[in-house]
């Protein structure tokens, strides 16, 4: 996995609304980004401690309460910056591909 892409995708998934960790995992699996679940937890903790994420405890019907993650204002700001960088990057790649062929 390229550096930083996983974080970018996690932020994108969370930006769509409050979400439970195992649902994030399901989305990442769908996107074929994540092989094992264990790697997601340290990542979420890190993003949370950097102030990009926060979470709420939500009661569940089938067991103890669950952590639901959401983006903070700072997280949204960083996500916007990453969006711009990503567009620059994909533009660079597309342009390079065209000039090569």
């Amino acid at each position: 996995m390229r550096k930083g892409i996983l974080e970018y995708c996690v932020l994108l998934i969370i930006s769509k609304g409050e979400i439970y960790a195992s649902d994030i995992i399901a989305e990442l699996k769908k996107a074929k980004l994540l092989v094992v679940e264990g790697t997601l937890y340290p990542l979420l903790t890190r993003l949370k401690n950097n102030g990009l994420l926060s979470y709420n405890w939500v009661e569940s019907t089938s067991g103890p309460p669950r952590k639901y993650y959401l983006l903070t204002a700072e997280g949204k700001e960083i996500l916007n910056k990453l969006d711009i960088t990503w567009m620059e990057l994909s533009y660079a790649i597309e342009t390079s591909k065209q000039t090569k062929s």
């Binding site: 996995m1 390229r2 550096k3 930083g4 892409i5 996983l6 974080e7 970018y8 960790a21 195992s22 092989v35 094992v36 679940e37 264990g38 790697t39 937890y41 340290p42 990542l43 979420l44 903790t45 890190r46 993003l47 401690n49 950097n50 102030g51 990009l52 089938s62 067991g63 103890p64 669950r66 952590k67 700072e74 960083i78 910056k81 990453l82 711009i84 960088t85 990503w86 990057l89 660079a92 790649i93 390079s96």
Partner: protein, 508 residues
């Protein structure tokens, strides 16, 4: 039939088979160990445990069963991933978020905006000041003995060029996003030689020169580092061997020789060991640092270096303790003198006499039966000067009462006045008169096992006015109260005469 256990995981009570339980504990312990270096390990492990509990509950619900089996645990581990998978992920995960958030500025040379090597523009970016002010500063400093040139060259060598896009962003203090990706992209491009930035000829030339200087500088540091490694290791080994010899083969009696004979036998060994620790560890540290420079790698981890520091401090403290202990042995000073009258002659010849009477100490030292040598004399004894520092002083003064006298003043230091006095009394000094020939021993002697306490003998020879003194060649071994070397006479014995004003040089 299998034994089952009740466990509480993630605030859920789960019934689990014994072998499955063992596998699960093993797995969780591995995870705990893996994340133990992480500051948030408690939270991460709790999240993982909660998720595992949730998976267990789903499994029990879906399969309509009561107990978790070993197969279930294996499924969970496969889904969660083994510690090995985490390690791979750790490598791939970039620190881009830390970087995105921090947006720190770093000092680089800006070669895109350069007159020579981009030092000034780099400083400008860093300090948020226009580069022209730095340029002006350097330009002005060139007129002060060119001191700015040296500073500029040093900065050129030390400050790296902003080569990649991310470095340029760091230089300008912009937040770096996905920089790992960009760098990869750029490296691929650079590898294909697709881009080459065109810069001024002067800048290109300066770049080349800078590269050469930097390579030379690096090589120089590496050579120095290698020298330190080799010399430091040799020195350390020599110290180690020296200490082993000292501690292991004490029958060579190194403690009889100066300066080891200052220290009391009771703590000589521990003092030498403390000195060894206090000296060897800085050498080890220096060598390790040199290894770091030479191989660009850290030789030991933080715990070991911290341990070394603690041991070193211990060694230093112990050394200081012993030094003060030894110093206390020199606290008091005592001296006494004895005067002897010499037979009167008009002229005396002063010579150095290395011979001395065979003493009891010698019979022990050379393992000879002392009875056979009683009253015999040792000629040319050369052993003792290594025992003590130069410690005999000779003054020649005018006698007021017409008598020829030799005053011998013994002095020594000690812990108490009594000890000092007893040390002074233990000094043995040989002097003899044969008609007009005065024989002085070059050294004072201490009894065996007597410690060095700055014992000194000061001899004062008093002769009346008009008496001639001839000092033989070897008499230069003493310290004098007059200028011995002012009487140059081409190798012949030095001839002096006592006058009313004091000792004067005459030709023989």
């Amino acid at each position: 039939m299998k034994k089952t256990l009740n466990i509480n995981i993630g605030n859920s009570i789960i019934l689990i088979e014994e072998d499955a339980y063992e596998m699960l504990t093993g797995y969780l312990n591995e995870i705990k160990f893996h994340f133990s270096k992480n500051a948030d390990h408690f939270e991460i492990v709790t999240d993982i445990e909660n998720r595992i509990a949730e998976m267990f509950r789903e499994m029990l619900l879906q399969q309509q069963k009561q107990v978790i089996s070993i197969d279930d645990v294996q499924l969970v581990i496969a889904q969660m991933g083994s510690v090995k998978d985490f390690e791979n992920a750790d490598e791939a995960e970039g620190g881009i978020y830390e970087e995105t958030i921090s947006g720190v500025k770093k000092l680089y040379r800006d070669t895109d905006d350069a007159y020579i090597a981009g030092v000034c523009s780099g400083l400008g970016h860093y300090a948020n000041i226009e580069a022209k002010w730095f340029r002006l500063m350097f330009l002005v400093s060139f007129f002060f003995a060119g001191s700015g040139i040296v500073v500029y060259l040093i900065m050129w060598i030390l400050i790296p060029r902003a080569a990649t896009r991310s470095q340029r962003m760091y230089m300008k203090g912009e937040a770096v996003n996905l920089h790992g990706f960009i760098r990869n992209f750029e490296e691929e491009l650079a590898g294909n030689q697709l881009i080459s930035r065109s810069r001024g000829f002067f800048v290109e030339l300066a770049e080349a020169a800078g590269r050469i200087v930097r390579t030379l500088g690096k090589t120089f540091f590496k050579v120095v580092a290698w020298l330190i490694i080799i010399l430091g290791s040799c020195f350390f080994l020599a110290m180690l061997v020296g200490m082993a010899v000292f501690l292991g083969f004490s029958d060579a009696n190194p403690n009889e020789y100066f300066p080891l004979n200052i220290v009391n036998d009771a703590y000589l060994s521990s003092m030498v060991f403390a000195f060894f620790v206090a000296l060897a560890i800085p050498i080890i540290a220096l060598v390790l640092f040199a290894i770091r420079v030479a191989f660009n790698s850290r030789a030991i981890n933080r715990t070991v270096s911290f341990g070394l520091l603690v041991v070193w401090l211990g060694g230093v403290m112990l050394s200081i303790f012993y030094i003060t202990k030894v110093a206390s042995e020199f606290k008091e000073e005592a001296e006494f003198s004895q005067v002897r009258e010499l037979k009167k002659y008009d002229a005396y010849t002063l010579t150095l006499d290395r011979s001395r009477f065979f003493s009891r100490a010698d019979s022990v030292k050379y393992q000879i039966n002392s009875d056979k040598y009683r009253g015999k004399v040792i000629l040319n004894d050369m052993d003792d000067p290594y025992n003590l520092p130069r410690n005999v002083r000779l003054n020649i003064e005018k006698s007021e009462n017409g008598l020829v006298t030799l005053t011998q003043n013994n002095s020594s230091h000690g812990k108490t006045f009594e000890a000092a006095l007893s040390h002074a009394q233990n000094i043995h000094y040989d002097f003899s008169q044969q008609d007009s020939l005065l024989n002085f021993s070059p050294f004072l002697q201490l009894n065996r096992n007597t410690k060095w306490r700055d014992q000194e003998v000061t001899l004062t020879l008093k002769v009346p006015v008009g008496v001639k003194l001839i000092l033989n060649e070897e008499m230069d071994l003493f310290s004098y109260s007059f200028d011995y070397w002012s009487c140059e006479d081409h190798g012949a014995p030095k001839a002096w005469v006592m006058t009313e004003e004091g000792l004067k040089c005459t030709k023989p």
